[in-house]
């Protein structure tokens, strides 16, 4: 990608590559929806690309040790965990992923997105069910 920041489509391709890694399982409709919501949250191309690349990186790290990475969700018995992180070194930890270790190995990804925008991460499923 050289010196230029990646374009949105390049960043999305990186995310797809990570999601396609052996052992990662997803719900396709949720990925499409979360991706669209991140796009709506970050209308600036550079910000969107940075957010998507940060999500891809975080998923890759979580995939390496899904049973211990991030934090376990309190009072949640199915093994789901969450992680918060930022898209740039200077910003606060505004991005989230929700995942759990899969059996016998690997990781299931339930959600990703931006905390600061009501259409993303935690509200997505509610919207989907309303349609």
């Amino acid at each position: 990608m050289g010196e230029n920041p990646p374009s949105p489509s390049e960043a999305i391709r990186v995310l797809y590559l990570v999601l396609g890694a052996e052992g990662i399982k997803i719900v396709p409709a949720y990925v499409a929806q979360d991706l669209a919501n991140v796009r709506r949250a970050h209308t600036d191309d550079a910000e969107f690309s940075a957010a998507i690349l940060a999500i891809a990186k975080e998923l890759r790290i979580a995939h390496a040790s899904p049973a211990s990475y991030g934090v376990a969700i309190e009072h949640e018995l199915a093994g789901w965990r969450r992680s918060k992180f930022s898209s740039t070194q200077s910003s606060d930890a505004h991005l989230r992923i929700v995942f759990r270790p899969a059996k016998p190995s690997g990781m299931e990804v339930l959600a990703f997105g931006d905390r600061d925008f009501p259409e993303t991460v935690y509200f997505t499923a509610k919207n989907r069910l309303r349609r």
């Binding site: 719900v27 949720y30 796009r39 709506r40 969700i73 997505t124």
Partner: protein, 108 residues
């Protein structure tokens, strides 16, 4: 200058006064927190150790509350999304379908 909000007008100490322990102790006793000034510039703030401990405890408490709220939000999301979730591998065909749906959702 939002950082200085909440300091009384006379809650000041100059850099040279800062070296005088009795002056520092007296003003902290009165105000609990002071602006540290050099002439007209505010260089920083000086607050009582106990006030600092109370402040950090307050921040930790707020952070814990935020974490609890976030955990609740995630539990709600899990309850909704896992009702009909079918987890699959992201094969090239699946990725193509995700991309198609994404473009449809974003009109891109």
């Amino acid at each position: 200058m939002a950082l200085l909000d909440g300091f009384p007008l006379d809650a000041d100490i100059t850099v040279s006064e800062l070296r005088k322990e009795d002056v520092l102790a007296e003003r902290l006793h009165i105000h609990h927190g002071l602006r540290l000034r050099r002439r007209n510039d505010v260089l920083g703030v000086v607050i009582e150790a106990e006030a600092w401990r109370a402040h950090t405890a307050y921040v930790h408490d707020l952070e814990a509350q935020i974490e609890r709220h976030e955990d609740q939000a995630v539990r709600d999301l899990i309850a909704r999304r896992t009702q009909d979730a079918q987890f699959v591998n992201a094969t090239p065909e699946v990725i193509n379908e995700i991309d198609r749906q994404y473009r449809e959702l974003t009109d891109g």
